[in-house]
């Protein structure tokens, strides 16, 4: 009876735990197993093939291109969503009058609340050579030679998608930085001013070190987001033209549900899993080391 009583408190966490184990943890473990089989949606029995699916990946040039595209996505996003956003947040906080500051924050955040699908389709119209504003703007400036069929050419498709993603996310990370900056005690800035430090100096000597926690967090979120990117690419190019904008997520989707090679898709999923795991682990490592430092 006492044993029963001790376990009775599990009634609180049981619903959450059951959903989590069945729909989040089990599939991820199962995916590791499936990646060792050759198997498709209709085959009666999966055939064990060991690491063959991973060998396929290593020898698949599109897999490597996808990985490279994810990396380019991550690096570009870091520049804009961490670097630029931090500067933007600091400018908003230190430079803009209070009332206007609120309005600007709201405006910059708006793209983050519309769905990626809507933003993606909207930008594919913007890039469209027939009706799009981008080519027309370039034409009006006399830059006809810069005009492109942005999503239709292998050289520009990936960058066009990345640009859309920055448009959507800069305001979001800037708001997070604003919150972090607001937590920095005002006295620090006043002391710096009395010592004759200008705003640039204050930014580098106070703001940057004081919001380091948030910077780490946003860096982690941005990098893992870049390796999980799917929706943007699916809506705007579906990985084309000629696989030039393929990323790991879309390549997985294509193999699973269009090429019907579930085993290979599961192997790609495992690669994504390992990458996100490493990113997560590095976050824990960084925050732990910092705690010791302090």
């Amino acid at each position: 009876m006492r044993v029963l009583n001790r376990w009775r408190s599990w009634v609180w966490v049981l619903p959450a735990l059951a959903l989590l184990l069945v729909f989040v943890y089990y599939p991820i473990v199962e995916n590791l197993r499936l990646s060792l089989y050759s198997w498709n949606a209709f085959s009666a029995r999966p055939v064990f093939v060991g690491l063959d699916n991973y060998r396929t990946a290593v020898e698949d040039p599109i897999f490597w291109r996808a990985l490279r595209n994810n990396t380019v996505f991550a690096v570009t996003s870091l520049v804009f969503q961490v670097g630029f956003s931090l500067v933007l947040a600091a400018v908003l906080e230190e430079f803009v009058h209070q009332r206007l500051r609120g309005i600007l924050r709201t405006v910059y955040f708006i793209p983050a609340v519309i769905s990626i699908t809507v933003a993606g389709i909207l930008f594919s119209f913007l890039y469209n050579p027939q009706i799009g504003l981008l080519n027309r703007a370039l034409g009006a400036l006399g830059l006809e030679s810069w005009q492109h069929s942005w999503l239709g050419e292998p050289g520009t498709a990936m960058w066009s998608i990345i640009a859309m993603s920055q448009w959507q996310s800069i305001g979001y990370t800037a708001i997070l930085f604003v919150v972090a900056i607001q937590r920095v005690p005002r006295e620090f800035y006043e002391a710096a001013r009395i010592d004759g430090a200008g705003r640039i100096r204050s930014f580098f000597s106070i703001t940057v070190p004081m919001v380091r926690e948030m910077t780490t967090l946003i860096t982690i979120l941005t990098i893992s987001g870049a390796f999980l990117v799917f929706n943007e690419v699916m809506v705007m190019t579906a990985g084309g033209p000629s696989n030039s904008s393929q990323v790991l997520g879309t390549w997985l989707y294509r193999n699973a549900f269009l090429n019907d090679d579930m085993g290979y898709a599961a192997a790609i999923a495992t690669v994504i899993f390992v990458i996100t795991l490493l990113i997560g682990a590095s976050q824990i490592y960084v925050s732990r080391r910092r705690r010791i430092e302090w």
């Binding site: 609180w12 430079f95 405006v107 910059y108 519309i114 809507v118 930008f123 913007l126 009395i194 100096r201």
Partner: protein, 299 residues
């Protein structure tokens, strides 16, 4: 960067002069700096808003205006475009999105609040393990689970139903939502619980009658963030629902785009109808939105 410092000096110049002399910049440079910052901020506002305004304006135009006067206002307000977009599927997708989003808000918030209260106030054997599993769940990505879930949902016979999405949206958001609500509950005074207990409330009664109402602000934040997530979710909605009548907005719009092709104004109208609810919801619930966002990310 130059611009920021130049203005800083301009401001500092108003403070007693002696301390600021050594960094003072020439006046023309200071005003040039602040002009550049304002131009930058203004350009960013334009870059953010212009595509959205173009979307709204274009949804009132006819095809010729879309081509001939992309920068201009629509000649007249053609509400018919919205009716056409609605008939082309937007209304159905919209309804589906509302159903899936509201159901998953209810389940996610209740299950998470229930678990959070247990973790904060009830002594749970192995509570540490539960927290660990929740924390790990924060890092696991939907994409990785996609292929096994395909089979699992078929075996559970919920593939291609609303339930597939509701269950997944709940399961994948429980970790975040539980941590969000837990952080708020930790700050509540335990005396409330004790008083309720003295009055003869069971733990469950305390939860429903006292704790939930007290947690209202964070529950609103949690609900708004779940709304944002579920309304915009794409991967699961793409893979686990193939019946055109059950598709949610993000996937339905993509379908519609390939169906309507060059009926541009109707396409724009569809996008506008999909984007507006979230923008309006955000403008109304801005404070709770940001509160939840920063609480969730900060703790």
């Amino acid at each position: 960067m130059m611009t920021v410092s130049a203005n800083a000096n301009a401001r500092a110049g108003a403070v007693p002069a002696a301390t600021t002399r050594k960094v003072a910049a020439p006046r023309w440079l200071r005003s040039l700096g602040s002009v550049l910052v304002w131009v930058g901020l203004g350009a960013l506002v334009l870059a953010v808003l212009y595509p959205l305004l173009w979307m709204v304006f274009s949804s009132f135009k006819d095809n010729r205006e879309v081509f001939d006067s992309p920068w201009g206002l629509p000649g007249e307000l053609r509400w018919g475009n919205f009716a056409k977009a609605g008939n082309a599927g937007v209304v159905r997708y919209f309804t589906n999105s509302v159903i899936v989003t509201s159901a998953s808000i209810l389940t996610t918030v209740l299950v998470s609040a229930w678990a959070a209260y247990g973790l904060v106030r009830q002594k749970i054997v192995g509570g540490g393990i539960v927290l660990g599993l929740l924390l790990g769940g924060l890092m696991l990505a939907p994409t990785v689970a996609l292929i096994p879930l395909f089979g699992l949902l078929q075996n559970l016979r919920i593939f291609d139903t609303y339930w597939a999405l509701i269950v997944l949206y709940t399961a994948f958001r429980i970790p975040f939502t539980t941590f969000l609500i837990r952080a708020y509950m930790i700050d509540l005074s335990p005396e409330v619980d004790e008083a309720a207990k003295l009055d003869g409330c069971t733990a469950a009664q305390t939860f429903w009658r006292i704790i939930l109402p007290m947690c209202r602000p964070i529950l609103v934040s949690a609900a708004l963030l779940q709304a944002l997530f579920a309304w915009n979710e794409f991967v699961f909605a793409l893979v686990f629902v193939s019946n055109g009548d059950l598709k949610t907005l993000p996937v339905g719009l993509m379908d519609m785009q390939s169906r309507l092709l060059t009926d541009w104004p109707v396409q724009f109208a569809g996008l506008t109808m999909a984007a507006l609810p979230m923008i309006v919801l955000f403008l109304i619930g801005q404070r709770q939105f940001l509160q939840g966002l920063t609480d969730g990310i900060g703790k």
